[in-house]
């Protein structure tokens, strides 16, 4: 929901406010550092290309810098800045959700709302994927370091150290997902019909009201945007 709000609102204020809310919430839950890592990991690969393309190729009236054949315009920099804060708003929202949501509660709650356990598992696996990937990256980085890979020191050395991690992290994640789905098949996870669950996640009145308020806020924002009473998205 936060991601949608960030996109609908545009500008700097709302996305930055969402980032701040996510970071404060993460600090309250004791996962601020992990959220910062996850957010950077998710955002940086896209952010680099988005910023370069936006700043160097977007046409504008005020040229700030000339870099070879490229004119860096104020409009291009503004657009890149707005995209960047939106990306951070989205990645912090996804990261916070992943780091603070109990997969069990998520699956059972989706199932209670009529979704098939299979779909619910895919959703839960997605939630689990981010922290699992961070943990796995740490293990693989330690293994690579023990074989002499330099992952510390200058920014250049750190970036050079990231490349050998990407392949093993992604491949091992894919293998694990396949093995895990087989193990679940064996335990009749795909069986159609009712399951008698041992536990239901609590759903308090406060939580229900908060959810509806967030949905209402999004609808209001969309309406305001459609009415043209908000600065246009560049």
């Amino acid at each position: 929901m936060s991601s949608l709000v960030a996109f609908v609102a545009g500008g700097y204020l709302v996305p930055l406010a969402l980032v701040a809310i996510a970071l404060v919430s993460a600090a309250t839950g004791g996962v601020a550092r992990r959220l910062a890592s996850v957010s950077l990991l998710l955002t940086l690969p896209i952010a680099v290309s988005v910023v370069l393309v936006s700043a160097l190729t977007r046409a504008g009236t005020e040229v700030l810098v000339v870099l070879g054949p490229f004119d860096v315009t104020r409009e291009g920099v503004d657009f890149a800045g707005q995209m960047l804060v939106r990306l951070f708003a989205i990645s912090t929202a996804i990261g916070l959700f992943s780091l603070t949501t109990d997969p069990r509660a998520f699956v059972f709650d989706l199932e209670r709302r009529g979704l098939s356990p299979r779909f619910a598992f895919v959703a839960a696996a997605t939630v689990e994927a981010v922290p699992a990937m961070v943990t796995r990256a740490g293990v693989i980085a330690a293994a690579q370091r023990s074989r002499g890979l330099d992952t510390e020191g200058s920014l250049r050395a750190r970036l050079r150290g990231v490349l050998p991690l990407v392949g093993p992290v992604i491949l091992s994640s894919l293998t694990e997902v396949e093995e895990r789905s087989l193990a679940l098949e064996v335990r009749a996870f795909g069986r159609p019909g009712v399951r008698h669950l041992l536990w239901w996640p609590p759903d308090t009145a406060v939580e229900r009201v908060a959810r509806w308020l967030i949905v209402a806020a999004l609808l209001v924002l969309v309406a305001v945007r459609l009415a043209g009473a908000w600065p246009p998205i560049p």
């Binding site: 997969p103 839960a124 093995e179 895990r180 064996v186 335990r187 009749a188 996870f189 019909g193 041992l198």
Partner: protein
């Protein structure tokens, strides 16, 4: 009864079959060990015997896999799961990821079968007790040692109340005590009439519990017979399998011209 009749199997995307004309029959109540070198095709036999290949992972199956008179290809995977279950080597990939405690993790299978809550609870408690891991019941399954995780994974399979079990290196991460617990649980299960197929590098474990042992080499069953005869076969090392310690000891004694074999009732 679990039977592989003239089974040939080729993984999706592979040019050649991994299994060739495999015949293997497990009678009810029988424990059969499967040994062979790495890449011999043991895990593939497990996947085929459990019906996951080709039902879940694709590929091309020739011949028949028959469980209690029904071909696996005629059954959906969730129905197969009530007849035969398979345990894998790596406990971390057998965790569902949706259970907060070991108890819930073990209960997941019975719950998926749609059993009443009381039956799910009873089966879960029984499975935990069988492997003597009741004290782990409230632990987070993601924070267990490899051995504990493997016991929890096996408990999860036992709680399904399967007719037959296929296990691919079930004790790879277990200490001797854990291996003995698993061995005892498997013997108990066989007594209820279940057929068990166990892939294991620890020949000593197979020596202690198996009625029969089969050797796989390059995707073919090259030897199949009573445990003592197969594990004492001179050709075993040539197939990449280390004989059990009693056989190695007997051979060592014999090589030095020392007596003891016959007195102990061992044959090598």
């Amino acid at each position: 009864m679990l039977e592989l009749r003239g089974v040939t199997y080729r993984y999706a995307g592979y040019a050649r079959p991994v299994l060739h004309d495999v015949d293997l029959a497990l009678r009810d109540g029988e424990i059969v060990g499967l040994v062979g070198a790495n890449e011999a095709g043991k895990s593939t036999v497990c996947l085929v015997a459990s019906g996951l290949a080709p039902a879940s992972i694709g590929g091309q199956l020739g011949g028949d896999v028959v469980i209690d008179g029904e071909r696996t290809t005629s059954l959906p995977v969730h129905e197969l799961a009530q007849r035969v279950v398979i345990g894998f080597q790596n406990p971390s990939t057998q965790r569902s990821g949706v259970a907060a405690t070991v108890f819930e993790e073990v209960a997941l299978g019975p719950m998926n079968l749609g059993l009443p809550v009381a039956e799910t609870l009873a089966r879960t408690r029984r499975a935990l007790a069988t492997l003597r891991i009741e004290d782990l019941a409230d632990r987070d399954p993601a924070r267990l040692s490899g051995g504990q995780g493997q016991l929890v994974a096996i408990a999860g399979l036992l709680a399904m109340g399967p007719r037959h079990i296929v296990l691919d290196e079930p004790t790879a991460q277990l200490d001797p005590e854990g291996s003995n617990l698993v061995a005892a649980a498997l013997r108990d299960l066989a007594r209820t009439g279940a057929a068990l197929l166990i892939v294991e590098h620890k020949a000593d474990l197979l020596d202690g519990i198996c009625d029969r042992v089969a050797v796989v080499d390059a995707g073919r069953i090259v030897l199949d017979g009573p445990t003592t005869a197969v594990l004492g076969d001179e050709r075993l090392a040539g197939w990449g399998v280390e004989p059990p310690s009693r056989v190695r000891l007997a051979r060592s004694l014999a090589a030095r011209g020392l007596p003891g074999l016959a007195e102990l009732g061992w044959t090598a």
